[in-house]
């Protein structure tokens, strides 16, 4: 996106407005800035979606509203809500290895690109002048 200021030509004293205009370029600085935040926010929203699903599946009638990572209920139901939140949080991480799955998806996207080819155990990007070896990072080891 690029910002552009527009001014109303009919109203002389009007303040200019700024509009974001889509471009053909990806903003990798913005992608880098946003990726971790988006990952974390998608995880905490998963926590909420799974909590709501659990409440519906277990046919529980509970008061609940959420403000992203903050949970509200009536006092009499808060104990069970707290228990369910912990249960669901544990299920997110103990039943699936998200980091490895995300790594497989991302590295597959790189390796399957039409301009990427494999030679031995190395991957190269077809460049106009000279192929560039891709330094595909290994996922840090987490136990």
């Amino acid at each position: 996106m690029v910002s552009k200021q527009l001014k109303n030509s009919l109203l002389k004293n009007s303040k200019p407005i700024t509009v974001a205009i889509p471009t053909e370029q990806y903003d990798y600085a913005a992608i880098e800035r946003g990726l971790m935040a988006n990952l974390i926010h998608s995880l905490d929203s998963s926590n909420i979606h799974m909590l709501v699903k659990k409440i519906i599946d277990d046919k529980l009638e509970l008061n609940l509203y959420t403000i992203h990572d903050c949970f509200a209920s009536t006092s009499g139901e808060m104990a069970i809500i707290e228990k369910l939140i912990r249960e669901v949080f544990a299920n997110i991480y103990f039943s699936k290895d998200y980091v490895s799955r995300l790594d497989s998806i991302i590295t597959a996207q790189i390796k399957e690109d039409e301009n990427v080819y494999q030679k031995g155990d190395k991957f190269f990007f077809k460049n106009n002048s000279k192929p560039i070896e891709l330094d595909i990072p290994k996922l840090p080891s987490y136990n």
Partner: protein, 320 residues
């Protein structure tokens, strides 16, 4: 927020609340691309300011757990760093005084409790719910009419998710995923670690200047919170130094030197102190490196993501 903006905000919230008073209403919401849920309506919604949140009740209730109301009262007052047992004790010990002042000496209630509350409107809302509970219990009246929402925050949810993703037991303990006897405070840990690093710094002048700053959880929280979110050193330093007053001193005809005035409220001896631009930069660097060393597994993951993004940039492809 300016006085006028606050006035119009509160006025809109209260007018809407008056309009919907004693009616059952639904708050329409939408989801963003991460799955986060937000209300579509402005002013009077359950995610808005303290005053808006204090005005909502659930339609139904299935009873009261008085201890949760006590904990919420303590939280709204700002005692959320205490253990649950201590928060319940604080609320029980102080309830009679708070309620008595609220009813009989509103001016004193305002000075002693209201202005010192973290979330004053929710503090009053919870106080009235406890009062109603006491009255209804005494006269064997319906307790299900107490439908006030009690809110519970995650400790530091970004770090909770990252510690679980990276299976890091130490960070998980700091952010209360693994329960201990006392609630842990990740930001306080970071502040303490930063002070220790400064104490060991070789430069005596810098050491004494930086130690004159009151580096506590409040000072450091905003900056530390953004580090897992890939914030860069420069941005984080700016967040820290935005708390200071900047001024320039002309050192030659074309050169001005940047200085920061640390307000007395942010210093250990309650006196103003001055930092040069370089010293402020070093403060940022110490905070940044110290926090990264505490969350090393998370930092490894950040570096991994950065390398992945570089490859996608080369391929000119989006990540999806």
């Amino acid at each position: 927020m300016s006085h006028d903006s606050k006035f119009w905000l509160y006025r809109n919230i209260l007018n809407l609340a008056r309009l919907y008073k004693n009616n059952v209403l639904y708050v329409p919401c939408f989801m963003d691309f991460r799955g986060r849920v937000y209300p579509m309506v402005s002013y009077l919604n359950y995610q808005a300011s303290d005053i808006a949140r204090s005005l909502f009740c659930f339609k139904n209730s299935t009873g009261v757990d008085i201890n949760y109301l006590y904990i919420y009262l303590a939280n709204a007052y700002g005692k959320n760093r205490l253990t649950r047992a201590s928060r319940i004790k604080w609320a029980k010990d102080n309830y009679a005084d708070i309620y008595n002042l609220y009813i009989n000496k509103p001016g004193e209630f305002k000075d002693k409790y209201l202005v010192n509350s973290a979330e004053p409107a929710q503090f009053v809302s919870c106080l009235l719910s406890i009062a109603k509970y006491n009255i209804n219990s005494k006269h064997q009246l319906d307790l299900n009419s107490i439908r006030t929402p009690v809110l519970f925050d995650a400790t530091c949810s970004g770090m909770q998710h990252l510690s679980a993703l990276t299976c890091d037991m130490e960070i998980a303990t700091y952010v209360n995923i693994i329960a201990g006897d006392e609630p842990e405070d990740f930001y306080r840990k970071c502040a303490e670690a930063v002070i220790e690093v400064i104490k060991k710094h070789d430069d005596h002048d810098l050491r004494s200047k930086l130690l004159s700053i009151r580096i506590d959880r409040k000072f450091i929280k905003q900056s530390v919170m953004t580090i897992p979110y890939n914030v860069k050193l420069e941005s984080m330093t700016k967040q820290l130094t935005d708390k200071f007053e900047t001024f320039y001193v002309e050192v030659s005809k074309d050169t001005k030197k940047l200085y920061f005035k640390i307000p007395a409220a942010l210093t250990v001896d309650n006196k103003e102190h001055i930092l040069t631009g370089r010293e402020a930069g070093l403060l940022g660097s110490i905070v940044y490196k110290t926090v990264l060393s505490i969350i090393k597994p998370v930092n490894d993951y950040r570096n991994y993501i950065s390398k992945i993004i570089k490859i996608f940039k080369l391929l000119n492809k989006p990540i999806f």
